[in-house]
């Protein structure tokens, strides 16, 4: 008989709020928030649409310590407006990344976003461009910017583009990374190409396991706050460059991906080509078995 353990101590990253994730990630009690909810810096645009506002505009930013070292942190709240980037939300992140350079401190971005917030689409789009530039500038100063992906909203749209600028990405199986959402693909291409309600299809096309296998993410962890914490500590130890060597390596890596898998119709074909035994079983594998099966995955070490 299998013993069932109660989930009394663990914190599911997928389920946790932005604030719970930060609390569980950093050294206990070490977090200081910048522009906290008491300052009520809310979106000035949602009222136009008669939509409710949130005191922190859906992102919590500040500084904490990770294994003793100071680190700047941003956590998106995927349940508020789908974690989408609006003007204030985006500017808090932009400011944090600019602060990283000024203070010479690494950054963790806890993504949980559907992309740009449509009600302030232009501001959100520009914020994403500004954040990407700030990430690259911080990395060129020798800083690490690590993305953590495993929330309800995934990491979609412009969020996924910011993710692509990070020095390392940590993902759980639940995490999804994609520019276009499933519904958007279905609307544009028809249900025959992509049935957005087929969640197994969605996950094997955009989910954490697939991204890890093709090198779209660097570390694969359980849906556990402590697993994310451990991975974040490790991720900050590597990948402190963003120069022509790194981008040339990424160019080679991404070209190779197109050559190897460009004709694949489905993720399972890609996993097969990667030499995974029983590729159709991949979605059902528990983490340890998956990591063994992923031995020959593509990786992006120093090529991101």
């Amino acid at each position: 008989m299998t013993a069932v353990t109660a989930n009394t101590v663990s914190l599911s990253w997928y389920e946790a709020s932005a604030r719970q994730r930060i609390d569980a990630l950093v050294d206990a009690g070490s977090f200081t928030e910048f522009i906290g909810p008491e300052l009520r810096e809310m979106s000035p645009h949602l009222a136009i649409f008669d939509l409710p506002e949130q005191f922190d505009d859906g992102v919590v930013i500040g500084r904490g310590r990770l294994d003793g070292a100071p680190v700047l942190i941003a956590a998106q709240e995927g349940r508020f407006m789908g974690g989408a980037f609006g003007e204030v939300h985006g500017a808090k992140l932009t400011g944090l990344l600019r602060a990283a350079r000024a203070q010479h401190q690494d950054v963790l971005i806890l993504f949980d976003t559907g992309g740009v917030r449509l009600q302030e689409a232009n501001a959100g789009e520009l914020a994403i461009a500004e954040i990407m530039r700030a990430v690259v500038e911080a990395r060129r100063d020798g800083l690490s910017v690590v993305g953590l992906i495993g929330g309800r909203a995934g990491c979609y749209g412009g969020g996924s583009l910011i993710g692509g600028t990070c020095s390392r990405l940590i993902v759980s199986e639940q995490g999804r990374i994609s520019v276009s959402g499933p519904e958007v693909i279905e609307t544009n291409r028809g249900i025959e190409e992509f049935d957005s309600r087929d969640r197994a299809l969605v996950w094997r096309t955009m989910g954490g396991k697939h991204r890890f296998l093709i090198g779209g993410a660097d570390m694969f962890v359980d849906d556990e706050a402590l697993a994310f914490r451990k991975a974040a500590i490790d991720a900050l130890k590597v990948g402190r460059r963003c120069d022509v060597t790194v981008l040339e390596a990424e160019q080679t890596r991404l070209e190779r991906r197109l050559q190897r898998f460009g004709e694949a119709e489905d993720a399972v074909e890609i996993w097969q080509a990667l030499g995974v035994d029983n590729p159709t079983d991949v979605p059902a594998l528990p983490t340890s078995a998956f990591l063994r099966a992923a031995d020959n995955r593509e990786n992006a070490d120093d090529a991101r």
Binding site: T32, F34, I35, H45, E87, V88, A91, T94, G95, R98, A99, A102, Q103, Q105, L118, Q119, E120, A121, N122, A123, E125, L126, I128, A129, E130, M132, R133, R140, G157, G158, S160, L161, I162, G163, G164, T165, I177, S178, V179, S180, I185, N188, R189, E193, R211, I214, G215, G216, D243, V244, L247, E250, Q251, L254, E255, R257, L258, F261, G262, A264
Partner: protein, 246 residues
């Protein structure tokens, strides 16, 4: 204006630029005799993994050449390609990679100027035009995050209501003026004036910090972003000193 008209206007002394599929690549000479690289995406095409990797490859070659010549990036695209294949292959990485190469070029001494002369939207806009050091546009260009009908579907608001709201704020509706007011576009060129001097003027602009949020504040289209970002930078400085001393 057609692409040929634009290129002729920009480079009266001649250029060697080819368009392969939707990808523009080549070189030209500025009126002062200096060389300039020309890249871009044209014909209102979507930007997918195949296009992004080609463009990024060109940028990397330019950076590796060490010539520090400026790069003009022309944009008339749709949005990112919304397909299963592109997402299966990790489109976000390809678009980010392209953006990173442009940001790298700027940082490595190549001035990067984006010229938006047609459409562009969403991820394609971020990965191209918005990743250049200075973005200018020609009249008639039409950047968007999402078109209004799609926006209507998502927000469950009728188009008329959205249009009325768009009158009150530049913050959400598509269009060149809105994107300019929010600071995303440095300047809209006058279509009737010669283009070459305008390009030369942009090249004169001192290279520096990302000032789009400041432009947005100045133009009234994005009043909060710059102030919020500045406050975060200031808070991070003071709180850290406090923490170190405390």
């Amino acid at each position: 204006m057609t692409l040929d008209d634009i290129l002729a206007g920009l480079f009266p002394t001649g250029s060697k630029i080819e368009t392969t599929g939707a990808i523009i690549a080549g070189q030209a000479v500025l009126p002062d005799g200096r060389p300039i690289h020309v890249l871009g995406i044209t014909q209102g095409q979507p930007l997918g993994v195949d296009e992004a990797i080609l463009l990024a490859g060109h940028v990397i070659e330019i950076v590796k050449s060490g010539d520090r010549a400026p790069i003009l990036f022309l944009v008339d695209s749709a949005s990112q390609r919304m397909s299963k294949r592109d997402e299966l292959l990790g489109l976000s990485e390809y678009l980010s990679h392209l953006a990173k190469t442009l940001l790298l070029a700027e940082a490595e001494g190549h001035r990067t100027v984006g010229l938006l002369y047609g459409g562009s939207a969403a991820g394609a806009f971020i990965a191209t035009a918005l990743a250049t050091g200075t973005l200018v546009a020609l009249p008639g260009a039409h950047p968007a995050v999402m078109d209004l009908p799609s926006m209507g579907r998502v927000t469950k608001l009728p188009i008329d209501v959205l249009k009325a709201k768009a009158e009150a704020t530049p913050v959400f509706a598509p269009g060149l003026d809105n994107m300019t007011q929010t600071g995303g576009i440095h300047a809209i060129w006058d279509a009737d004036a010669p283009l070459a001097p305008r390009l030369a003027a942009v090249m004169q602009r001192p290279k520096g910090q990302d000032d789009r949020d400041r432009l947005g504040a100045k133009r009234g289209g994005r009043r909060k972003a710059a102030e919020i970002a500045d406050r975060v930078v200031a808070l991070a400085a003071t709180s850290y000193q406090g923490a170190q001393h405390g």
